[in-house]
Symmetry: C2
Subunit: 148 residues, 2 copies
């Protein structure tokens, strides 16, 4: 499954005329197989044993390249560092206010909102972003324990 995703992604890059360097392959692979929403630094740290002299700049550079082709989305999350999400299919994010965990969830779509916004503002709409915030099951348990 993930193998196919990786191939897809690489083909899409090739089609856009982007060279597939070992570093790019590794960053992309990490984004896909890890199934997480890593920060640039997390990616860097988990690949530095494989590429001992890769620089952080490379990670940032390539994440930007991936963003331009639409393979990856940047999630800007409050004060701290951005997280990067491989876009396999449309989904939204549920974020835990107390531990920061990000969980994907699907929702039929907010096309209605887009068209209303278009009418009201006169903008030409490209897309939207939504996140739901709350407390994850684990943190809920912990909070209860603390109170009792």
């Amino acid at each position: 499954m993930t193998e196919a995703h990786i191939q897809d992604a690489i083909n899409r890059l090739k089609d856009t005329g982007v060279r597939i360097t070992p570093q790019r392959h590794a960053i992309l692979e990490y984004l896909i197989v890890s199934m997480t929403h890593p920060t640039a630094d997390e990616i860097y740290k988990s690949l530095e044993h494989k590429f001992p002299n890769m620089s952080v700049a490379t990670v940032y550079n390539n994440l930007r390249v991936f963003k331009k082709t639409g393979l990856v989305k940047e999630l800007t999350y409050g004060d701290s560092s951005s997280r990067f999400d491989f876009v396999s299919s449309e989904h939204y994010h549920m974020i835990c206010n107390s531990c920061g965990k990000i969980v994907d969830f699907h929702y039929p779509g907010l096309d209605e909102v887009e068209s209303l916004a278009e009418q009201v503002t006169g903008f030409q709409v490209d897309g939207h972003r939504m996140e739901v915030y709350g407390t994850c099951p684990e943190c809920q348990k912990q909070n209860k324990q603390l109170k009792s």
Copy 2:
């Protein structure tokens, strides 16, 4: 109108035991009367003639105070600096991809999404955030001119 808003806000602060210093008053007033979504630095720059020796830290400090009382929301916008929004009533933001302009718009509410997310993820939901991205009327015109 805005006068009333300012008074409301100040009363709310007083009730929470927050002192109304000249700097706080000015920052709050700027947020309300300017009707924009300024960055901390924009606020700082537009007040430094009035308070020649105010520091940026004061702006950040007080924005944080306002955030805690719920008077102000922080909008973390991509790479660059946060913008701050005085919360008069529930609304969403429409953001221009080419010039960065932010326009408010109202939408009945996304409670549905929240309750679905709650069921699917098991999180206890606090709230959500949504932004719609697109091109503002002005930038649409400019783009057309460039093409012709």
